[in-house]
């Protein structure tokens, strides 16, 4: 068996950026990817863009998007729960990432239909994240990096201030290797629903996992047990409201539902529980993940009428459809009389809807209703009626490895000399809550490259 300078644990964007950078610096690199080849790439296969700072037009990006504006956008969504030094490092380095990505085979396309608001800030990968992952695997192949698929890393042995060995199973055999340096880029733990349930409570068993089933946090747990410094609230995860019929894992982008602002949302008792029109959907879908999680059985039901059917992006599964509210209630297994009552109460609270504007905060609100609907409040009155179920879809977890500006991990007493982390598994070092579209790929690319550079420099 050949010996490696660097073992990279994980096979998504951050892992690949690290492996490519290290291999280009002359290191012999082994990638240990848990997933089988068709599912390689972790959550990166579901991504579609990278948020990128730029001081003028850059590739597909128009105008400019400067460091301070980028940081402001981040601080808004994280409520200040941000490590500013690391965030600035990620933001500042993002501008270099785009040409680097192109040089390694990633291609960009203009902002997708329905996402024009991101044309200035986010560079979209042509074909999405899986095509990016494919391009990077091609690049690693050209550099002579070895990739082991279905390689389950079970243990990294911390001995003093260094990782002494990596243990993994591959093709039915246990392996123990002693690379000079190790880069952990194996994501969060959200696919381990037991862990999620321990952190969140039993309700988490009803959550859907939007991404890969292979992010089970095995390496993360192993390192935390050995006292490697962690960051982030273990009970926190980024969750959004998605189509309740989505698969348990890997539903990805298509399971999103954009119709909430035009709807009323009820729980299984056919009662409303929150202002559906509080803000435009891209700014609210994340809080709805938590709202739905707090409802009985962690499920909610969206109800619209024919007026609103064409106002949002098509859903992957067609909505349930009925000519009467009672019929819709039956199809959705909701109490029909309660639903009728809720809708009638809501309709009666609606006022003049002539100012209705689907893409702006139009101020068309209910009066005297609790909870109110503060925008887009039009009566649910024109049959046919349509319904979707909503469930909580977990994107990633915040608990991770704490790193410094060189992406290096540490124990409680000192930095660990040969352990670096990149991507989701250390994203908690930068943001403690909230999320900004495309920022995960920025963190993965920037810190993947830093980790690859540092590890190679150590190994050489």
């Amino acid at each position: 068996m050949s010996t490696y300078d660097i073992a990279v644990i994980g096979g998504g964007n951050a892992a690949l950026c690290a492996a490519i950078t290290a291999a280009e610096a002359g290191a012999r690199v082994l990638i240990l990817e848990t997933a089988p080849k068709p599912y390689r790439g972790g959550n990166s296969r579901h991504t579609r863009n990278l948020r990128c700072a730029h001081n003028g037009p850059l590739g597909p990006l128009v105008e400019s998007y400067r460091e301070d504006e980028y940081l402001d956008d981040l601080l808004k969504v994280t409520d200040g729960n941000t490590d500013e030094q690391l965030a600035r490092l990620a933001i500042r380095s993002s501008e270099d990432c785009l040409p680097w990505m192109e040089a390694h085979g990633v291609r960009f396309q203009p902002s997708l239909s329905g996402t024009l608001s991101l044309a200035r800030t986010n560079a979209f990968f042509m074909g999405g994240g899986k095509s990016l992952v494919n391009a990077y695997y091609r690049a690693t192949e050209a550099l002579g990096v070895d990739v082991a698929y279905e390689a389950y890393v079970t243990h990294l042995e911390l001995s003093g201030d260094r990782i002494a060995c990596v243990e993994y199973t591959h093709q039915g055999k246990d392996h123990r290797i002693e690379p000079t340096a190790v880069i952990v880029a194996s994501g969060g733990f959200q696919a381990d629903t037991d862990w999620l349930a321990r952190a969140w409570g039993p309700a988490a068993k009803n959550f859907l996992i939007r991404g890969t089933p292979y992010n089970r946090g095995v390496v993360l747990a192993d390192l935390l047990e050995q006292g490697v410094e962690s960051v982030g609230d273990p009970t926190q995860c980024h969750a959004v409201a998605i189509d309740g019929r989505a698969p348990k894992f890997d539903g990805g982008i298509v399971t999103r539902l954009d119709c909430v602002p035009f709807s009323i949302v009820v729980n299984k008792n056919a009662e409303r529980f929150y202002d559906e029109g509080e803000d435009v959907w891209p700014k609210r879908y994340a809080i709805w993940g938590r709202l739905v999680a707090a409802q009985p059985d962690q499920v909610a039901y969206v109800i619209i009428d024919s007026k609103s059917l064409n106002l949002f992006m098509p859903s992957v599964f067609p909505p349930l459809k009925a000519d009467t509210l009672e019929e819709l209630a039956t199809k959705m297994e909701l109490p029909a009389d309660r639903l009728r009552h809720t809708v009638e109460t809501f309709n009666a609270a609606c006022g003049d809807a002539s100012a209705f504007h689907p893409t702006e905060l139009d101020g068309v609100a209910t009066s005297g209703l609790t909870p109110p609907k503060t925008n887009w409040a039009r009566p649910i009155s024109d049959p046919p009626f349509y319904g979707y179920s909503l469930r909580t879809g977990v994107t990633f977890t915040y608990l991770g490895l704490k790193v410094d500006e060189t992406a290096r991990c540490s124990s409680s007493t000192s930095p660990i000399r040969n352990l670096w982390a990149a991507g989701e598994t250390m994203a908690g070092s930068i943001l403690g809550q909230g999320y900004l579209a495309g920022f995960g790929m920025t963190i993965g690319t920037v810190f993947g490259r830093i980790a690859g550079r540092e590890a190679a420099s150590y190994a050489n």
Binding site: S113, G252, N310, M313, P314, V316
Partner: protein, 354 residues
């Protein structure tokens, strides 16, 4: 049309419409994303717009083993072939050749035999060169109908297609847009212009695009050579044979070389590619057609090189047999795709200006 093929393509299109990651690859996705629901005719149009570049398959996060089981290039390829078979006229010939390479080979053998027997039966009418074997009049009597029948057949089919997809009066701008995409084969280049995914899985390569253009331009040059010969014959009273430095030869020889090499290259690429990303049933028919087209080019070149030897009469029969078979099968083989593709590109151009 087979409703199950359309239903499967629709199921997949609805997933694509909720994702949209592939919007930058080709003409199909912007067309797909401009709609919320897909009637049968919409699926037929998308299928004929698809050039099977496979970029969307390799980029797709929902291919098997994912439960959504997307294979959009295959779904569209199956609808596409089914649409050609359903719209073809006359129907008895429609379903023989797309799915049966053996039928193409058999037709070719029948073509050879027919030419040998015809030539033997007619005998020499005392002309020179090729016309010593078969008189000009006999050739015209045979090939004029063999050329006009496919044109009539295609005209009927394309009219049906145009009505099905709701095409309108074609403008110069439509033609410019559609032919502009075809002459550069933009839809085999992906949005970044680096080609398609074919012979080496997810690697982008220009090979298939270039091979296709070699075949297409080779064919068009050969066709132009024939037209030039016709003009020389009737307008300038200058019958064949023509020397190398003449318009028919200067068009035909490079055309034949491009056609022959292009077809050989394409057949080789097809052998490297993943058959499950196309229409598996049409594999044999497609290969049969490519070999027939390439053989037509090759036999023409041999005829040119060996035209003054004792091989000439036999080679002439073989070449004319190949040409005859190729023409007659045009509406019922892969050759028909070019006509539908142009129609689909025209319809798509009209979508853009409405």
């Amino acid at each position: 049309m087979q409703t199950d093929l359309i239903a499967e393509a629709r199921r997949q299109a609805e997933i694509c419409n909720a994702c949209r990651y592939c919007e930058g690859y080709c003409s199909v996705f912007p067309a797909l994303h401009s709609q919320r629901a897909f009637a049968d005719c919409d699926i037929t149009q998308l299928a004929n717009l698809c050039h099977n570049c496979r970029g969307c398959y390799y980029a797709c996060q929902y291919t098997a083993p994912h439960e959504f089981d997307l294979n959009f290039p295959k779904a569209l390829a199956e609808v596409r072939r089914d649409s050609w078979e359903s719209l073809a006229w006359p129907q008895p010939l429609a379903k023989r050749f797309h799915t049966h390479g053996g039928a193409v080979a058999l037709a070719l053998i029948v073509g050879f035999a027919f030419m040998f027997l015809t030539i033997r039966a007619l005998g020499s009418a005392g002309g020179v060169g090729f016309y010593a074997v078969m008189s000009h009049g006999a050739m015209v009597a045979l090939f004029a109908p063999a050329f006009l029948f496919p044109l009539l057949s295609l005209a009927i089919s394309l009219r049906r297609y145009w009505q099905a997809v709701g095409g309108r009066l074609i403008t110069l701008a439509d033609l410019k847009a559609a032919f502009g995409r075809a002459v550069r084969m933009t839809d085999l280049a992906a949005g970044h212009g680096e080609g398609c995914n074919f012979e080496d899985k997810d690697r982008f390569s220009q090979a298939r695009r270039y091979a296709h253009q070699a075949i297409m331009y080779g064919f068009l040059l050969c066709f132009a050579a024939t037209c030039a010969g016709t003009v020389l014959h009737y307008v300038f009273n200058n019958p064949a044979p023509y020397p190398f430095w003449s318009v028919p030869k200067l068009l035909g020889v490079p055309g034949g070389v491009l056609l022959t090499l292009g077809c050989a290259w394409m057949a080789w690429l097809k052998l490297q590619s993943d058959r499950t990303l196309g229409d598996p049933q049409a594999w044999g028919g497609d290969i049969g057609f490519i070999l027939l087209l390439g053989f037509t080019g090759l036999s023409g070149l041999l005829l040119y090189v060996l035209g003054t030897t004792a091989w000439m009469p036999a080679l002439l029969s073989v070449h004319l047999g190949a040409v005859l078979t190729f023409f007659l099968l045009t509406p019922f083989t892969k050759m028909t795709h070019g006509f539908y593709r142009i129609a689909a590109l025209l319809a798509d151009a009209q979508r853009h200006r409405k």
